[in-house]
C-alpha cells in the first residue's frame, strides 16, 4: 500500500495548458500516472496531446471529475487564481487537491483554509513539490506522480518521506534508493506558513499504513509543526523515525526562500526543534547527507527491517 494515492489514482490537472503545468503533465504521463483530465476555463472540449496520450480538457473541475472519475487534482494556476482553484476542488468533492503554485498571498490561504475546514477534500501545499507513490517498473515507472518531483529517483519500498522542501525530499528519496531501499510514498507539504496538510497529518497516515516501515521527517526553521509532530511521535508512533531540520545558520527575521522559513522567536529555531526531536526519540541526521543513514540507525535500534 501507500498513503493518499496509489498507482490506480486518477488525477486531473488544473492549469494543464500553461507551460509549467503542461511540462509536468507530460512527465507524469511518461511515468505512467493515470492522468485523465485537464481543466482550463474556456478551453473545454480541446485535448492535451502527448505521444500516444490524448487527455480531454474541461472548463471546470466538476465536469472533469464527473466525466473521468478523477478524484485528485494537481494545481498549477498562477498565484492570484490559485485560491479559487483550491475552492473549486473542494466544491467538486475531490478527495485530494495538491497545490504546486508558489507565491499565493497569505491572506488568500487564510481564507481558503477557513472555507475548507470540515470539508471532505484534503489539501496538500501550496508551494509544494507534490507527492509520489512509486510503481514497480524501471525507474519506478507505473507509479502515481502528482506535481513536480522527479519520479525516476524513487523505488517502490517501505520508507515514508515527509518534508516542506522539494529538493531536500529528493535528496532523502535518492539516498534511500541508493541504499537499495525504497519509498511507500514521498510527500512534500510545502514551504508556506499556511498550508493544508502538516507534518503531523502525514506522520499519522504513515504510522497507520502497514506498508510503511520507517519514516523520514524533514523540517526547517519557522512555526512549530515539526515540534507538534515530534511530540505525537514520542507518544504514538511505533515505527523508526529519522529527522532533519534545515536552517541552523539562518539569521533571525529573514525569510529564507520559503515564505514560512523565518525564525520568529526562541522556539522556532533549528536548534530548538532538533532538541525536541532528540527528546522525542527521533534519530537526528547531523547533515542532509546523513538522512538515510539516520533512518537505518533508528531502524537498527528498534530491530526493524526497512527492506
Amino acid at each position: 500500500m501507500s498513503i493518499l494515492i496509489t498507482p490506480k489514482t486518477k488525477i486531473l490537472v488544473q492549469g494543464i495548458t500553461g507551460a509549467f503545468g503542461a511540462k509536468h503533465a507530460q512527465l507524469s504521463l511518461d511515468y505512467g500516472t493515470q492522468l485523465v483530465a485537464g481543466v482550463t476555463p474556456g478551453k473545454g472540449g480541446q485535448f492535451f496531446e502527448h505521444g500516444a496520450h490524448k487527455v480531454p480538457i474541461f472548463n471546470s473541475v466538476h465536469e472533469a471529475a464527473a466525466a473521468t472519475g478523477a478524484t485528485v487534482s494537481v494545481i498549477f494556476v498562477p498565484p492570484p487564481f490559485a485560491g479559487d482553484a483550491i475552492l473549486e476542488c473542494v466544491d467538486a468533492g475531490l478527495d485530494l487537491a495538491v497545490c504546486i503554485t508558489e507565491g499565493i498571498p497569505i491572506k488568500d490561504m487564510i481564507r481558503v483554509k477557513r472555507a475548507i475546514s470540515g470539508a471532505k477534500t484534503r489539501l496538500i501545499g501550496p508551494n509544494c513539490p507534490g507527492l509520489v507513490t512509486p510503481g514497480t517498473g524501471e525507474g519506478s515507472d507505473g507509479g502515481c506522480r502528482i506535481g513536480i518531483a522527479p519520479g525516476y529517483i524513487h523505488k517502490k519500498g517501505h520508507v515514508g518521506v515527509v518534508s516542506r522542501s522539494g529538493t531536500l525530499t529528493y535528496e532523502a528519496v535518492f539516498q534511500i534508493t541508493s541504499k537499495g531501499l525504497g519509498q511507500s510514498t514521498s510527500v512534500g507539504i510545502g514551504g508556506d506558513p499556511v498550508n493544508g496538510t502538516n507534518h503531523l497529518d502525514v506522520i499519522k497516515l504513515f504510522n497507520a499504513d502497514p506498508d510503511t516501515k520507517g519514516i523520514i521527517l524533514i523540517g526547517e526553521i519557522g512555526g512549530n509543526a515539526e515540534v507538534e509532530a515530534a511530540r505525537w511521535i514520542k507518544d504514538n508512533c511505533t515505527k523508526p523515525v529519522a529527522g532533519f531540520i534545515a536552517g541552523a545558520t539562518a539569521p533571525a527575521g529573514r525569510r529564507m526562500g520559503h515564505a514560512g522559513a523565518i525564525v520568529g522567536g526562541h522556539e522556532d529555531t533549528a536548534a530548538a526543534k532538533i532538541a525536541v526531536f532528540e527528546e522525542c526519540g527521533i534519530e537526528v541526521a547531523a547533515t542532509p547527507s546523513d538522512m538515510a543513514d539516520a533512518l537505518l540507525r533508528a531502524a537498527a535500534k528498534k530491530g526493524v527491517s526497512l527492506a
Binding site: 497569505i106 491572506k107 487564510i110 534545515a246 529564507m256 547527507s289
Partner: protein
Amino acid sequence: MNIHEYQAKALFEKFGVPVPKGASAKSAAEFDAALASLPEGPTMVKSQIHAGGRGKGTFTDGFKGGVKFCKTKADAKDLAGKMMNNTLVTIQTGPAGRKVQTVYFTVASDIKKEYYLAVLLDRASSRPVIVVSTEGGVDIETVAHDTPEKITKVLIDPAYGVADFQLRQLIGALQLSGAEAKNAAKLIKNLYTFFWETDAAMVEVNPLITTPTGDVLALDAKVSFDSNALYRHSEIVALRDLNEEDPKEIEASKFDLAYIALDGNIACLVNGAGLAMSTMDIIKHYGGNPANFLDVGGGATKEKVIAAFKIILGDANVKGIFVNIFGGIMDCNVIAEGIVEAVKEVGLKLPLVVRLEGNNVAKGKSTLANSGLALVSGDTMADAAQKIVKLVA
C-alpha cells in the same frame, strides 16, 4: 517588505489608528518645514531605519541615541542635524550600521502608561491573532518568556473579523475602562482592518500608550507586508526604500534569485530553498562559514547561473564557492554548461567545488571535467562541503 515608522504611521492615520502628530524630513534643508507643521513644545526626534533598538543605538561618530526627547523644537532641529546622514548602529543592524536618510519629528506625548499591541499570523491555527500586554515599551520576547501570563492572544476568524466580545476580552486584558477602553477598542479594531486590508504580515505597536486626557495612541509602529501580495498594493510597493536593502539582494531580485547576504566567506549557489538552507548548515557543520543564502530555483537557466555568480563575486569577503545542485527534473548538464560559461565569463580565480546529482548527472560531470576549469568535484553534499571548507581554510 518592511517600511519606515513614519510611513507606517501615515497609513495608520488613514485607517483611523491615532498617532502623535508628526512630520518627516529627508534632508537638513527640510527640517524647518517639517517642524513648522508641529506645535511649539516637547518634541521627539526619531532616526528612520529598518531596524529595532534605535533608542539605545549609537552613531558611528560616537553620538548616542537614534531616538531623542527634546524640550523645544529648536533643540529637535539641532539633534536632527546630528542624526541626518550619520550611521546608526543598533543591536539589529550589525556592526556596519545603517545610514539615516530620513528623520521623523513628532509631538512628545504625555504618557500615562505603556502597553503592547500586535497583529500577526498565528501559524498553528492559520488565523490572524491579536496580541496585547500590559507590559509595553519593553522587549516582548522577554515578557513572553518571563511572565507569559501578562500576554493575551485572541485568534480572529477571517470569515467574521474582530467580534465585539473579543474586543472586550482584549480591553479586559489591558485593564482599561471609561474613555480609554472605548478609544482602545476602536484603535484595535481599526488596526486589525489595516492589517487585513493591506495584506500586512505583521503589525506591531510597542508601545501603545494612554495619555492623562484619556487618549490612546500608537507611539511606535513596526509594519511588514506579505511579499506575495504586493502585486495588488501598488501604493505599498511605492514605499519600498532601496537604501535599506543590500545592493546584492536588490540585484538578485531582478533575476528572480532568492539571495540573502551573510557574513561568512564560502558562497553557496543551490537549487531549492530547503537545500540552500542546509547547504549553509553543512558548511558550518564542517567548520566553515557561509557567505550567503542563494536559491536559483527549479528552473535555473544559464543566464540565472551567470547572474548568480556575478552577485556572489560582488561580495569581497568570499574566498570560495560551493555549488550544490540536485537536478531532479532540471538537466544537470544544462547546469554544468551554465557553470562553465559563468566561470569563463567572470574569470573566476577562487576555489570552486561543485556537487551535481540527479538527471543526466554523468553528462554534467563530464562537461565539468572536460571544461579545463580548475574546479573540484564533490560526490555527496558532505564530501563537497568538506572539500570547500578545506580549500578556503
